[in-house]
Structure formats: structure tokens, C-alpha cells
């Protein structure tokens, strides 16, 4: 149970960073934290105490594997997160070259 709670705490920390931090890089880090939290949550969903990795070597052994699907999903999610984070960092760098600041509060040309 404690792992689930800490997973949610991690999620909330990430969310906190996204919502309150003014530095663009920190916001990106916040997103990374959220992603980790969700990935961790996925992995925990499929976890079974004492079970084996889901690799079938012999058919006659008792089947006590962890659920393989979340692991596959986490892999996919990590790839997507990688893409997002890379794009986000790229854009942050380009923004910096235009605005000369990382402060989100000063990046408000589009308004009204």
C-alpha cells in the first residue's frame, strides 16, 4: 500500500512543479516526475509478490508470473514521454533564444 501512496505523492510533486514553478526547465522536470509516477503506478499494477518475470522457459513450471502487459505499456509510455520531453526541451531552448528568459510569467505575448 505504501508504494501506491508514495507513487501518488510523486505524482503530486510533479504536478506541483508544473503548476507553481516559473522556470521552464523546472516545469519540464515536473512533467518528467508525473510520467515516472504514472509509469511506476503501471508497473505496480502488474506486480505480484514473489512472482517471476513473465518469460516462459519451460511449460511444466507453475505459472506464477507478474502481469506482462503493464510492462509493455510502460515501455510505450516511456517512448512517448521521451518524445514529449525532447520536444519540450527543444522548444524551451528556442523560447530562450527569443525571450532571453526562462521565466514563464514573462512569456505572455499572446493575450487578450
Amino acid at each position: 500500500m505504501i508504494v501506491f501512496v508514495s507513487c501518488i505523492i510523486l505524482f503530486l510533486i510533479g504536478l506541483y512543479a508544473v503548476v507553481t514553478k516559473r522556470n521552464l526547465i523546472k516545469i519540464a522536470i515536473g512533467f518528467a516526475l508525473i510520467e515516472y509516477a504514472i509509469n511506476l503506478f503501471f508497473a505496480l499494477v502488474g506486480f505480484k509478490r514473489g512472482a517471476l518475470a513473465p518469460i516462459i522457459t519451460r511449460l511444466d513450471t507453475p505459472h506464477n508470473f507478474v502481469d506482462p502487459i503493464p510492462q509493455a505499456l510502460v515501455l510505450t509510455a516511456i517512448v512517448i514521454a521521451l518524445g514529449t520531453t525532447a520536444l519540450m526541451l527543444t522548444i524551451i531552448l528556442r523560447i530562450y533564444s527569443h525571450y532571453k528568459t526562462f521565466d514563464i510569467a514573462e512569456i505572455k505575448k499572446l493575450r487578450g
Partner: protein
């Protein structure tokens, strides 16, 4: 080989072909994208005809049976979405030839263009929750990049804000998926639907639904989740604005909401009036708030962006009504709004291409210089305002009819009254850009741009005049597909493999 996976295979393959072919011969990139999008259009029409007879076509990826493998479930509602996407993608691609000529790195544009198409197509036809997330992210990431395509300060700012909010939505969706998987141990939509029914309407049920609504409302840009849209849509190149406003928000926000609410969570107006009233509330809020805001905009595309938020409200209102007329009207309005708003953003592109600015105060006298653009704008806006016999009228009419039939006379009156706002802000563009006399050295739009606009105008008129046919063969079946509710899962499990 079934034709279903073609919907995302074609754009994906073209997306990877384009960089390679672009190295060989530059104009090929446009040709590939246009041919691919036209193929999608034809395929979508074929899809419409096929779904006339078969309510649900299931394609099993890798031939794994439904609960185990990933399935594609193609029904009338998917067919309609695919048609809408392919129309806007096709016109956008046509339009891009001359519009994008001033940008560098065109192959990147077309690659992203095809990727976003693949993502939207995938979302519309998938029958698997995680698969839906993946396609949704493919489309979303491509759209972040496309919004920033101009790499100016405003484009980057818009893209960043869009990305932050979009990712908050996307990650919430992922969390909801994780929760659902934890509870039901399945990702197949039909299977989830069955498990949720067994479980009943518990707190967990409502919480997951709430998280998903949160995610999709961000994608659909309903007020108060809308603030990224008026930044992002104007920042993108015009064909992309057209695609984003015309289809993107509907596929990622509206289609997903409707599909999950009606078919997976199995809610009906009769059983869960509160839930549907929430939809109506958000719909009305969007219509009024964004409509009002649009009135005081000074930027051509930003105004249209707010207009999209406002019009999305009508669609949500229609789904919130929940009876046949309301749902059919909402679906019809997805089509009508895609055509109209796609067209309006294309005209904005033509204006920017010719005059070099989007500022309504600086634009003038283009009505005489750019007659095709001006008339396209007029047709698009008349359809959006709801003037018969254009398609927008019949769509709005159905929504209003549904509202009245459901007994929400006041909602109907408010919705009708608020459509004055639509008239107001579109007249603002008409007056300053096209009607006002003024000196300008703008030339008329290039041929391919005009073709793209005229194509949409023709569709607006034809769909309007033949609205009965559209209702009977396209919109009606789609509405029935939604209102079938939980039968969705029976159809997915029950339908035998179709080899088309």
C-alpha cells in the same frame, strides 16, 4: 487484407516516405501527401458505404482475438470521423502547396502533417484504450511541433503553453487508463465496457470518468479548458489551423468523450441526468464565454480560434441533450463545423498569404481583390451562423430540435440567442477585411488554394441541400451507433472477421 488499418497505415507510410523522397526530388513531398490524403478520402467514402450494411467491422491486429489483442472497431461513427478528417486533410494538403512555399524544411511539415493524420485516424478507429492513448499522443506531439513550425516567438510561446496543457490532459488520461487497468485487467474497450457494467456505478467509476472528461475537455478546448486554443491554432500555418480547428479538437476531444460516455461507460440521459446536464452546462458556458471573447478580438485567426471554442460548445450541448435529435445534430455539426471552420481558416491563410498580416485593423479592401476568398469566407460564415440551405443550418437545427424535444426550452432559447454572437464576430471580419474599402496590393489567391477553398464551399452547399441524404446515410447511422450504448461490446465480440 482488411481496409481498416489502411486508415493509419497510409499516412504512416507516407510520413516515412516523405523525408526519403524529399531528398530525391523536392516536389514529391507534396505529391505524396496529397495523393495519400486523397486515397484516405476515397477510402473513407468506401468506409461509409460499407457501414451502411455492417454495423461494426472488427479488425484484429495480428489476428489475436478481441480481449487479448488490439482490435480496430470501425462503425458508422468512426466512418463519419474518418470522412471528416480525410476531407480536411485533403484540402489542407492542396492548400499547402503554395502556402508553405515560404517556409523552409517542407518535408518536415509534410511528415508531421501525415503523422497528425495517422494519429487522428487511429483514434477514430481503434477499439483499444491504450492504443487510443498512443494515437492520441502521436497526433498531439505532431500538433505541438506543427504549432511551433514557424519558430517565431509567438509560435513557440503558443506551442509551449499548448504542450503544457495538452500534456496535463494526456497524462491524466494515461493515469485513468492505469486505474482502469488496475481495476478491470483489460484494455479492450468492449471488455472494459462489460467489466464496468458488472462493477456498477461506483465512486471509482465516476472518478475515472471524471479524469477522462478532464483530459478530453482539455483536448476539446471547452471553457474553462480552452485557453491554449486561441494561442495555438492561430500560431500554426493555416492548413494546420484548419486541420486543428476543423478536426483535431473534435477527434481528440469530442469523439473520445462521446465514444466513452455512450458506448463504454454506457450512460444514458434517462439514467444519469446529472452527468448529461454537466455536458450541457459546459456547452453553454463555452458558447457564451468564447463567443463573447471572440467579439473583441483583433486578430483574424485568433477570432476564429475563439469561434471554434464557442462552436465546440454547440457540439457538447448536442451530446448533452442525449436524445436522437441532439446526438445526430451534434454529429452533424462535427461535420458542418469541420467544413466551415476548415474553410474559414483556409481563407485566413489566403489573406495572410496575400496581405501579410492578420490584424483586422490593418486589413481592408480584399473583397474586390480576392473574390474567391471573400465568397468562400461568406459561405463558410453563413454556414456557421446557420443560414439555410447551408449545412450548418441543418446541424444547428437538429441540435435545437433535440433540445426542445428533451424539454429544455430555455436552453434552446439561449442557444438560439447566443448564435447572434456568431453573427457578430464573423461580421466583424467580413466588414473589416472584405467589405471595407481600402488600398491594398494583394493579389488573388493561387490556384491550388482556391481549389481547396472552392472544394469546401461546394461540400458545404451540397451537404446542405442534400441534408436529408446525409442524415439518412452518414449522420443518422453514426448517431444510432452511439445511442446503441452498451451493445457496442456485443458487436465487437460478436462480429465475425470481415476480410475486406
Amino acid at each position: 487484407m482488411s481496409f481498416i488499418p489502411m486508415f493509419f497505415v497510409i499516412p504512416l507510410v507516407s510520413a516515412f516516405l516523405i523525408p526519403i523522397l524529399g531528398k530525391i526530388y523536392k516536389p514529391l513531398v507534396w505529391i505524396v501527401s496529397t495523393v495519400a490524403s486523397f486515397a484516405l478520402f476515397v477510402l473513407a467514402l468506401y468506409g461509409i458505404t460499407v457501414t451502411q450494411e455492417i454495423p461494426m467491422i472488427v479488425y484484429k491486429m495480428g489476428n489475436w482475438p478481441p480481449p487479448l489483442g488490439i482490435v480496430m472497431a470501425f462503425d458508422s461513427f468512426s466512418a463519419l470521423m474518418v470522412l471528416v478528417i480525410s476531407i480536411i486533410v485533403f484540402t489542407g494538403s492542396l492548400f499547402s502547396l503554395r502556402y508553405m512555399s515560404r517556409y523552409t524544411g517542407q518535408w518536415k511539415f509534410y511528415t508531421l502533417f501525415m503523422l497528425i493524420t495517422a494519429g487522428m485516424m487511429g483514434v477514430s478507429i481503434t477499439g483499444d484504450l491504450f492504443n487510443m492513448f498512443v494515437f492520441l499522443e502521436i497526433a498531439a506531439i505532431s500538433s505541438y511541433a506543427l504549432v511551433a513550425f514557424g519558430v517565431g516567438a509567438e509560435e513557440l510561446e503558443a506551442s509551449f503553453k499548448y504542450m503544457i496543457m495538452g500534456e496535463i490532459g494526456g497524462l491524466t488520461f494515461l493515469l485513468a487508463i492505469a486505474l482502469i487497468y488496475a481495476k478491470t485487467s483489460t484494455l479492450n474497450l468492449a471488455d472494459i465496457s462489460n467489466s464496468l457494467q458488472v462493477m456498477g456505478h461506483t465512486t471509482f467509476f465516476w472518478m475515472v470518468l471524471g479524469m477522462m472528461l478532464f483530459a478530453f475537455f482539455i483536448k476539446a478546448a471547452l471553457v474553462p479548458f480552452h485557453s491554449w486554443l486561441p494561442d495555438a491554432h492561430p500560431a500554426a500555418p493555416a492548413p494546420i489551423s484548419s486541420l486543428l480547428s476543423g478536426t483535431f479538437i473534435k477527434v481528440l476531444g469530442i469523439y473520445t468523450t462521446a465514444r466513452l460516455v455512450f458506448n463504454i461507460f454506457g450512460l444514458t440521459r434517462a439514467n444519469d441526468p446529472l452527468f448529461f446536464n454537466i455536458l450541457i452546462g459546459f456547452g453553454l458556458l463555452s458558447i457564451s464565454f468564447a463567443g463573447l471573447t471572440a467579439l473583441s478580438q483583433k486578430d483574424y485567426k485568433r477570432l476564429l480560434g475563439f469561434s471554434s471554442v464557442s462552436q465546440i460548445g454547440y457540439i457538447m450541448l448536442g451530446f448533452g441533450i442525449g436524445n436522437y435529435e441532439g446526438v445526430a445534430g451534434a454529429i452533424f455539426f462535427i461535420l458542418a463545423h469541420a467544413l466551415a471552420k476548415g474553410l474559414l481558416f483556409l481563407t485566413s491563410g489566403a489573406v495572410v498569404h496575400a496581405a501579410g498580416t492578420r490584424d483586422l485593423d490593418k486589413l481592408s479592401g480584399l473583397g474586390e481583390r480576392m473574390p474567391t476568398t471573400a465568397w468562400s469566407f461568406r459561405f463558410g460564415s453563413l454556414s456557421l451562423i446557420g443560414i439555410p440551405p447551408l449545412v450548418g443550418f441543418f446541424a444547428k437545427f437538429y441540435i435545437i430540435l433535440g433540445t426542445i424535444k428533451a424539454g429544455f426550452i430555455w436552453v434552446a432559447l439561449i442557444a438560439i440567442l447566443l448564435s447572434v454572437l456568431t453573427l457578430g464576430y464573423l461580421l466583424k471580419i467580413e466588414n473589416s477585411v472584405f467589405m471595407k474599402k481600402g488600398k491594398t496590393d494583394a493579389k488573388k489567391a493561387p490556384f491550388t488554394m482556391r481549389i481547396a477553398m472552392v472544394f469546401l464551399v461546394v461540400l458545404i452547399v451540397i451537404f446542405g441541400i442534400g441534408f436529408q441524404t446525409i442524415i439518412n446515410f452518414v449522420v443518422g447511422p453514426a448517431a444510432h451507433a452511439l445511442l446503441r450504448g452498451l451493445e457496442y461490446s456485443h458487436l465487437v465480440f460478436g462480429s465475425f472477421i470481415m476480410n475486406f
